[in-house]
């Protein structure tokens, strides 16, 4: 008789094989100039672009998706070491940063550059946009459709397509269980995380592409359906400019990236009735500016959700790598704009943030099995800006307001207390040059505003808002329909249009808003076509 484990393996092996059949034209293999004429060209294949591609392809439109990054099948993710994942799947090999202005940390930014975009690199966490945020959007900003009721059908549909589910309790790593124990002792209630996974095996390296093909990122959920309905996806295709004539977008032009040098090489041109920019908050503003749009809002209002994590050294073996990367969270401190969750990462990536040099660093790394990691992020004000600069990559700056800096330090303080409450004997804080903390009272300095923000190791995963939606051209870059105020038939459909920080992981919100916009575009397609 087939053992349960083997049966399970076969079932999921078959599903994974199904998910790998995504035919993509590889731009790096194109030797001759290329031109095409389609109904809709979408620049970017991430959470926004992929959803739009599916919806419009299902509506019977000819759709071409152009992605600057390469294409890798889910089976290839597992063969990549974390550093190889960074090199192949991320912008700047995972070394993108937002430069801190004033009393602000240097913030490490992770953004995808591959078919599937940043959805390939998320932890899979899915939250709806909090009701209080939607209330602000609909009542204060006048975005009438952005209400919990208005977005509910789109949230529900996206959750169904990409299989959003509760992380089962048995998938909690021991590190997460300790996180919950510590929270419990401090009276902090924890909740079960929801993620877009199917058959998760707890490899705890979701941010580097799921090695088991279990994360339902858009390259395995939305794009295959788009392709099944006739959409074409082209990788390694750098769009350099949107063609605009008479105030109407007519198509895009750019170059395929060379397979050896990575530099732009063979030219391509696409004529389209509608152009959709979905390059994410860091690159959408660059393409819009490069194409001649000059709204003062392009590139401004960038929000990041600055995040920190701590390490906690226990006497027991934690083996935190065995379990879901993220499985619990608490919104207990949401009044302070703080969101806490259990986290993990490949051990070499975790070791990179340990304090000390030489022997002290080695001492801590050797205790990796006994280390647990807890994280938190801050619901921030939009203090960031994206600018064009010397290379293809943007210059990103961020000025953290005093309130957010205090929140960031308070986050470290709370996480440290939870670690000690759970029985940790040492806490590794994300403060550069600081030795490990051995007593809870030694964390009090974090509440005294004595730490320069530049000393805090900080990261961000949800850049949003750099081409924000507004009800007037004076207040933003795109209309509530997603079309730009400046150019007809030019749409933006990614995290850059979200008008404020949302305080939660952005994957599901971007996909759901994209679906709402796509349905609107489909309904009005003939009207848009008549202008083309």
């Amino acid at each position: 008789m087939t053992s349960p484990a083997v049966a399970h393996e076969h079932a999921h092996g078959h599903e994974r094989a199904e998910r790998e059949r995504l035919p993509v034209i590889r731009g790096r293999e194109q030797a001759a100039p290329f031109s095409a004429k389609v109904d809709v060209v979408i620049v970017g294949s991430g959470a926004g672009g992929a959803v739009l591609a599916r919806e419009l392809a299902r509506d019977g439109r000819s759709v071409l998706v152009l992605e600057e990054g390469g294409h890798y099948a889910p089976s290839e993710y597992g063969a990549m070491t974390p550093s190889n994942s960074f090199r192949r799947l991320s912008r700047e090999a995972g070394m993108s940063v937002a430069l801190g202005l004033g009393d602000t940390p240097l913030i490490s930014l992770l953004a995808g550059k591959c078919v599937g975009g940043s959805s390939v690199l998320t932890g899979g966490v899915c939250f709806r946009i909090p009701e209080e945020v939607l209330h602000t959007w609909s009542s204060s900003l006048g975005l009438g459709r952005m209400t919990p009721e208005g977005l509910d059908p789109f949230f529900s549909e996206v959750e169904g397509i990409c299989h959003v589910e509760d992380v089962p309790a048995h998938m909690r790593s021991r590190a997460t269980e300790l996180f919950v124990e510590g929270a419990d002792k401090l009276g902090i209630p924890m909740k079960t995380m929801r993620r877009n996974t199917k058959g998760c095996r707890g490899a705890a390296r979701c941010n580097f592409g799921c090695p088991n093909g279990a994360k339902m990122s858009v390259d395995v959920s939305f794009l295959p359906d788009a392709v099944a309905h006739g959409a074409t996806v082209v990788s390694d295709a750098l769009v350099e400019r949107i063609d605009i004539t008479g105030g109407v977008a007519r198509g895009v032009r750019g170059r395929f990236l060379d397979g050896v040098t990575g530099e732009p090489r063979v030219r391509f041109e696409v004529r389209a009735k509608l152009v959709v920019v979905a390059c994410g908050s860091m690159h959408t503003p660059i393409l819009l500016r490069r194409s001649g749009l000059d709204s003062v809002h392009i590139g401004r209002h960038l929000t990041l959700h600055p995040a920190v994590r701590i390490g906690a050294l226990f006497d027991e073996a934690v083996d935190g790598w065995d379990g879901a990367l993220q499985s619990v969270y608490t919104d207990h401190f949401l009044g302070d704009g703080i969101w806490l969750n259990g986290v993990y990462s490949p051990v070499n990536v975790l070791a990179a943030a340990f304090p000390g040099v030489g022997r002290e660093h080695r001492r801590l790394v050797k205790q990796m099995p006994n280390l647990a990691f807890f994280g938190g992020m801050v619901h921030d004000d939009g203090g960031g800006q994206v600018r064009r600069w010397i290379s293809r990559e943007p210059l990103v700056t961020y000025k953290m307001v005093k309130r957010d800096k205090a929140r960031l330090l308070k986050t470290i303080h709370i996480l440290g207390r939870m670690a000690f409450a759970a029985g940790a004997r040492e806490v590794l804080t994300p403060i550069f040059g600081m030795a490990t903390v051995k007593k809870e009272k030694d964390l009090e300095f974090l509440l005294e505003d004595k730490v320069a923000a530049s000393k805090v190791e900080c990261m961000a995963f949800h850049p949003l808002g750099s081409a924000k939606m507004a009800t007037t051209a004076d207040a933003g870059v795109v209309k509530p329909t997603g079309e730009t105020w400046a150019v007809d038939n030019l749409f933006v459909c990614d995290g850059s249009i979200l008008p404020t920080s949302i305080g939660v992981n952005s994957q599901l919100p971007i996909m759901s808003v994209a679906m709402m916009l796509a349905r609107g575009i489909a309904a009005d397609f003939e009207r848009y076509s008549s202008r083309a």
Binding site: R26, R201, A452
Partner: protein
């Protein structure tokens, strides 16, 4: 694996500084053989080279700054000319410095170097990481029920 972009960033002037940095980070007591340190420099070069021109320029500039940073503490030698213990001490001072940019010199390279160094399977085993094996997901596998015919034939056999 799909063909990867290939280019190089570090030249002959940069490599000794990076090697000296790696030696201070991971081999304060000579734990790592020289050949491995040389190969490690190539690995780091391979990692940073897909980045944009500006970022690569910034990383090279930081390496230049690390090389001459002992002058900030009135040590009239380049970083790679210091002994390993002096380098460790120097990096600790930089990391603790209140001058905003100095800790970033150390942290930027420490992050990249550490990630690549501990990617090596031998190093991972040495720190107790078992590799890809995972156990927790198996604890709640679906139970496969034996078919009725199989039960019947087993009963008949007994």
């Amino acid at each position: 694996m799909t063909k990867d972009f290939a280019r190089s960033t570090l030249n002959a002037r940069h490599r000794p500084v990076l090697r000296a940095l790696a030696e201070a980070m991971f081999s304060p007591d000579g734990e790592v053989v020289p050949e491995r340190l040389d190969a490690f420099v190539d690995d780091v070069d391979g990692f940073i080279s897909p980045a944009s021109k500006t970022l690569r320029f910034g990383l090279v500039l930081m390496l230049f700054a690390i090389r001459w940073s002992p002058l900030l503490f009135f040590r009239f030698r380049t970083f790679e000319e210091l002994t390993v213990d002096e380098r460790v001490h120097h990096l600790e001072r930089l990391e603790r410095s209140k001058v905003k940019q100095l800790p970033l010199l150390v942290v930027a390279y420490k992050t990249v170097l550490t990630m690549i160094f501990y990617e090596d399977e031998t190093e991972q085993r040495a720190i107790g990481y078992p590799g890809h094996a995972r156990e927790r997901w198996k604890t709640a596998l679906p139970v496969v029920q034996p078919r009725r015919e199989a039960i019947g034939s087993e009963e008949a056999a007994s």
